[in-house]
Symmetry: C2
Subunit: 377 residues, 2 copies
């Protein structure tokens, strides 16, 4: 089947761009001398994770136990579940570990550590645990200088868990937009996570893993001394938000939504398409960046960006395509006749990909492959 014959809306992956993005990140990791543990939460697609592995990724990061199950079933053994463990999820972790999955969990509180230790007493397996470090006040984690960092470490070690080290995610890197700011947050992420690891070791606790990362910091770091592994996810596809941060160009964005023009409001200069927020997601994260891309940047069906046109509004299954400057386009009906096939680049690839059960991978020769993806918890 050819691209233009796919039922719309559909999620299209430009395989040439994808391959370039994968190679770029692995080359950086190799140059920085760190191991790479890509976050598979963006694509949730075994085919893509296998390509990351083939290029050199040694392990994976997941955001849900569903991802852990699916990727373990597909042959991925070393998995970091990078969300502080809910005590009620420990039986499921135990089950996966008991079946041979090298699943690592994280914790950032005494209470959480105590819950793991309590479960450990009755468990048939040993839990492998990293402590989450807060390196930028973004969300979760223990600050590296806090006394409870050591308390958590000692509680885990004394309780029969395997303390594997520290991990952090400097999510505030998403708020940056200059190379200088990105380098600064990458350095901060490294420094504070390495500091936390040193404090553990100085207290006689093990810390073989020092894990950092986000797509912006991974692509901006210049020296990762003391770090053993890096995690990054959205770089596989990139998106308009990452272009706004400055770590990719528009023509690096590998995910787009194929859509068909179904109508016009000529007096308003609108074309109406059959992809609304259900197809793009409700993500409007470029709203607070220098360039607001609406619900997405419009491209022709070959993926060439039409810079003046964005999805200015979206209902559940309707998208409104209009001029970026808000001026009515008197020629909109002739420019985008009914039946015209367009592609829309998303604000946030993780959110947009999640709306689809599969990707249509478009190869350099124009042929398509179907790559399943999954969702849920």
């Amino acid at each position: 089947m050819e691209l233009y014959a796919l039922p719309t809306p559909a999620a299209i992956v430009d395989e040439v761009r994808l391959s370039r993005n994968l190679a770029r990140m692995q080359a950086r990791m190799d140059a920085l001398g760190v191991k790479f543990r890509p976050h598979v939460k963006t694509a949730k697609c075994v085919e893509i994770a296998r390509r990351q592995q083939a290029l050199g990724a040694y392990a994976i990061t997941v955001s849900t136990l569903k991802e852990a199950h699916e990727f373990f079933s597909a042959g991925f053994g070393d998995i970091l579940y990078a969300v502080a463990i809910a005590p009620s999820k420990l039986p499921a972790v135990e089950d996966l570990v008991g079946r041979g999955c090298d699943l690592k969990i994280i914790v950032d509180s005494i209470e959480g550590a105590q819950a793991i230790v309590a479960r450990r007493r009755a468990a048939s397996v040993r839990f492998k645990v990293l402590i989450e470090i807060d390196t930028d006040g973004h969300r979760s984690g223990v600050k590296p200088e806090e006394a409870r960092l050591l308390d958590i470490g000692h509680a885990l070690a004394a309780g029969g868990c395997e303390l594997l080290g520290v991990m952090t995610h400097a999510g505030s890197s998403y708020d940056c937009s200059t190379p200088e700011a990105l380098r600064a947050i990458a350095n901060q992420e490294r420094d504070l996570c390495v500091l936390a690891g040193r404090r553990l070791r100085d207290a006689g606790l093990p810390c073989p893993i020092v894990s950092v990362g986000s797509t912006p910091t991974a692509l901006s770091a210049e020296d990762l001394s003391g770090v053993t592994e890096v995690r990054a996810g959205v770089y596989v596809f990139f998106d308009l938000f990452m272009a706004g941060v400055g770590v990719c160009g528009i023509d690096d964005i590998a995910l787009s939504v194929l859509t068909t023009v179904i109508g016009h409001q000529a007096d308003k200069g609108w074309a109406i398409v059959d992809a609304g927020w259900m197809a793009l997601s409700r993500d409007r994260s470029t709203q607070n960046q220098a360039i607001d891309q609406g619900y997405g940047l419009v491209c022709d069906r070959d993926g060439v960006a039409l810079d003046d046109y964005i999805m200015t509004g979206a209902n559940q299954e309707h998208g409104i395509i209009g001029r970026r400057d808000g001026a009515p386009d008197p020629g909109v009906s002739a420019r985008f006749p009914i039946g015209t096939v367009l592609r829309v680049l998303p604000n946030h690839a993780c959110a947009t990909g999640a709306q689809y059960p599969e990707y249509h991978a478009l190869r350099a020769d124009g042929t398509l492959q179907t790559w399943p993806r999954f969702s849920g918890w």
Copy 2:
């Protein structure tokens, strides 16, 4: 299984509230003397559509051909696909009609009508078509006074299609917040759609169906003379946005996301939960209403709203629970200890429901049933 033992995040449907919402709408339709064609795009759940049918709904509305396929397979025959038909989707429509589905499509342009007629020439079936009317400048449709309304009607009739009438959706009702404004838009939706139908009839064209609706107008209309059927979708669950519009109370909201506390940032007064925007959706539509509910309103595990607490921020799999007024809550760790199970009411039920493969329906006696739902196109 009991509610608190479900893996989180999970989508919970309060069956008592659901039943009350279903009964309320059908009673209104009966009182207004119109047939009811609920929009099944909100729940995408056969179990719920069967309950609507049992209460008196005579047909359904869908937003995708996937919904048409799924509901036709489940025994629903009379289906209105309420998005202007893309010409490339006509073969799929033909297939469904050929298999016995009483599928109706809509169009709002001469070009669209010509595409249907062109396809009709080669088709083995007759297409049943309604013309979409623009009654509020919201999105799509032909204005009732436009000459092309009759041109479209004549083109369809002359081309061998079965012209069934007119339909409209006054989506701008979502911007209302007073009973007066809601009644006014309901009257406008009725008047302009009835006018369009009258123009068709005056021109000698058939118009057996005059279809209007949105949840706010359906619940606000006082007289629907000339209207034959009403459509509404989100009323099954309601949501925080509809509460902001004023057509339901917080305690009518039947959909919530079950989540578990996994950590705290005590100095910021935050509790971190395992439901982020993947679990709630990226919908922030209450942002522009009088009461901004963040990513959702926090309830205890029994569904009782904790009015001072909302989800103030969300990452992919992390939600931040904090005080609505932004003040740090020094007692947050004691108030919501790790492992605490909470429920979060969503801004927009259509967007939140779409993130899940199933609902857990909580019955009055506390037992749970699993109701599958589907997604995709």
